[in-house]
């Protein structure tokens, strides 16, 4: 779908601190953002103080929503999707609040739970990453909020695990960094607390690509861009950069930070605390860089709507229920970490690699051009699947293993015959442009023969792939490691 023809929708999320709108041409994997605004309403402050949303906060929120509705209409948004999260969920007068919003604005607020919130945040924070040519298979998302930090782990675009730490930038600031600027002792105690807290957690490793989202992460990136002259299009923070920012802020009052680096004072006040959390996470998990995404739940709503249609919320709810949610205080062993059982990681690995292999088979079969890359990619995918099969052989059912291995090997051999010829042809054709005239006939003779041979081999490969049952192969690969596979079958 082209961006210009994609439907325009608006998504608004009412959070603890802010109300935020995004209007965009919305496609399943891409957004063309037309408007993006945020207002600080801080209904969470009222809920934390009294347990309910005060009349004043209700009025302020309704006022902002009216403004956003007008903005969405100016962009001809076909739908305005509104979600409410933690602060509204906790409010004792949430029903009255939601009814008042609907009455005054005509907007229906979907109150979503933490599981759905995580899925939508993940969609929003990672969609740009997944647009890249070779996105990583495993991705982590850290949603750093005021009261908590959510960690989400995904594999092949599917959330496989998530947990929540009850430390956030506002919380850490209030508890440890009350002076302005904080004293050296306060900083040391806060850093020590974070080290101990993360050490106690059973989370041993995060994926190498970690996307940080939320106001603090984005404010920190903005500060680093200004303070260290990073280019505006830079969306990565290095560990060194985070440490420099931490050093810079620890010597300044919140007001100075706000003035120098164009931050709201409220944000500047908690920014150092958020930076300490980011630094501690990077240090603990040996991350040299993190990516910062300006996107989150709102963009996730629009992507989900484009992916799943009118029933998007129900679909997201189903997906959220498939996620392994860790509710313990210190997390549990993570998939893809050294602690994950071998058989379990093998099932994931074989499933992912078999899927990729079958995808590449389809691409070769549907390749109508002279492009030689699909065969190359198929060969690489077959090698990687075979490597995974070799690695996990000891956990596999021997019969299924043999069946899968043979099919993959045969495909690899067929693809190899084509690919090897392509490589020879590429070299010779390049040489044809350079050799003296007297030598051209020889090179051309060889090229002609190789091209005939290549054509035959391509046909053999196509015949093989047409006969290959990709669905069965994927199923066999995944099933070859039985759940609860016992120890070493090959010792």
């Amino acid at each position: 779908m082209k961006e210009q023809t994609a439907p325009v929708w608006a998504a608004i999320d009412i959070g603890s601190n802010t109300v935020h709108i995004v209007v965009a041409h919305s496609m399943p994997d891409k957004l063309d953002i037309l408007a993006d605004e945020v207002d600080m309403t801080r209904i969470g402050e009222s809920v934390n103080a009294t347990g309910e949303i005060s009349q004043q906060k209700q009025n302020e929120t309704i006022k902002v929503l009216c403004k956003y509705k007008k903005l969405a209409e100016e962009h001809h948004a076909g739908q305005i999707l509104v979600v409410g999260t933690e602060a509204i969920r906790k409010a004792s007068n949430k029903d009255d609040f939601l009814a008042a919003v609907e009455r005054e604005t005509g907007l229906h607020v979907q109150l979503i739970n933490g599981d759905i919130e995580a899925v939508l945040t993940f969609y929003g924070a990672t969609y740009e990453l997944y647009q890249e040519q070779n996105p990583p298979s495993r991705v982590g998302v850290m949603d750093l909020g005021g009261g908590s930090t959510e960690l989400i782990i995904a594999r092949s675009k599917r959330i496989t695990w998530r947990t929540s730490f009850s430390i956030g930038s506002g919380w850490l600031h209030d508890r440890y960094l009350s002076a302005n600027p904080p004293s050296h002792d306060e900083l040391s105690v806060a850093q020590q607390f974070l080290r101990t807290y993360l050490k106690k957690s059973n989370v041993k490793r995060l994926p190498r690509v970690l996307v940080a989202t939320g106001g603090t992460a984005n404010s920190l990136l903005y500060l680093a861009q200004q303070a260290f002259q990073l280019p505006e299009q830079e969306h990565q923070l290095t560990y060194d950069g985070v440490m420099r920012a931490e050093g810079l802020m620890s010597a300044l009052s919140a007001e100075s930070i706000a003035r120098r680096y164009h931050q709201p004072v409220g944000r500047a006040r908690i920014l150092l605390a958020g930076t300490l959390i980011i630094a501690a996470v990077m240090s603990k998990f040996h991350l040299q860089t993190i990516r910062v995404s300006p996107h989150g739940i709102r963009e996730g709503v629009l992507l989900a709507r484009a992916r799943f249609g009118e029933g998007w919320l129900k679909q997201v709810q189903q997906i959220s229920q498939q996620t392994d949610v860790d509710t313990s205080s210190h997390g549990k062993e993570l998939e893809g970490t050294p602690e994950e059982p071998f058989a379990q990681s093998g099932r994931h690995e074989l499933k992912d690699r078999a899927e990729k292999f079958v995808q590449e088979c389809d691409k070769v079969l549907h390749n109508e051009t002279e492009d030689i890359e699909p065969v190359h990619k198929l060969r690489v995918a077959s090698r990687r699947l075979r490597a995974a099969l070799d690695a996990y052989q000891s956990c596999c059912d021997p019969k299924l293993f043999k069946q899968v291995y043979k099919q993959v090997k045969d495909a690899a051999d067929s693809a190899g015959a084509v690919r090897d010829t392509d490589v020879m042809l590429q070299g010779l054709q390049k040489q044809l442009e350079q050799v003296p005239t007297a030598e051209v006939a020889g090179v051309q003779w060889l090229v002609d023969h190789l091209m005939l041979y290549r054509e035959e081999r391509q046909q053999v490969l196509d015949d093989f792939l047409n006969a290959l049952d990709g669905g069965t192969l994927k199923h066999q690969a995944e099933a070859s490691i039985k759940k609860g596979a016992a120890s070493n079958g090959k010792s």
Binding site: P207, R208, G336, P341, F342, R384, A417, A438
Partner: protein, 193 residues
């Protein structure tokens, strides 16, 4: 080269990282069994086996990327470079074998060609280095190369022989560099970290 050996001593219910280390160490040992051919520039089979074994170590480290120390990344890069260098040597060996068959040349008598004449087959299960279907195409009596084409093919062969020398040298220099840095010990230390 034979299929990768199944690894013994694994426990499927144990942590992935622990098993991954055992597999990687075995694949590394397998690779080092072939390093005796590093100084045998014309042992096509030995160098090919070394390439395949290096590839297996690399793929093992990649499969278990998340369960092994991050310091494995530079090791993967070194192995990929070795694999590329040996791959270039192997591609030249195949092209040289192919050209020799086209020309049915028996006049060179170089050490390389003498060695190559004994290695018509790929190591392992005896798969021919030049596939029989391709040979049939090239040796079709109806399309024998003209004298002019033969001249071009001869030149191509000479150039490829020279290129192969250069490719082997590049690989060998890299290998010596790794030896100086005690690559094997460093890999083991990284895996055991």
């Amino acid at each position: 080269m034979a299929k990768a050996k199944p690894v013994t001593g694994l426990n499927c219910q144990e942590a992935t990282g622990k098993n991954a280390r055992l597999i990687a160490m075995l694949r590394l040992e397998e690779m080092y069994q072939w390093t005796k051919y590093v100084d045998h520039p014309y042992d096509v089979a030995g160098l090919h086996n070394l390439r395949i074994a290096a590839k297996r170590v690399r793929y093992t480290l990649e499969v278990f990327e998340d369960a092994l120390p991050e310091a494995c990344k530079p090791i993967v890069d070194e192995l990929a470079q070795l694999q590329d260098e040996l791959g270039a040597v192997h591609d030249s060996d195949v092209m040289i074998a192919l050209l020799r068959l086209c020309l049915a040349s028996q006049d060179s008598g170089t050490a390389y060609e003498h060695a190559l004449s004994r290695v018509e087959k790929h190591p392992g299960k005896g798969k021919l280095m030049v596939p029989p279907e391709l040979l049939a195409k090239l040796l079709d009596p109806a399309t024998v190369p003209s004298d002019e084409a033969r001249f071009g093919l001869e030149q191509l062969l000479q150039q490829r022989l020279q290129r192969r020398e250069d490719e082997y040298k590049s690989f060998h220099q890299h290998w010596e560099h790794l030896q100086e840095r005690d690559f094997r010990r460093k890999v083991l230390e990284t895996l055991n970290a």
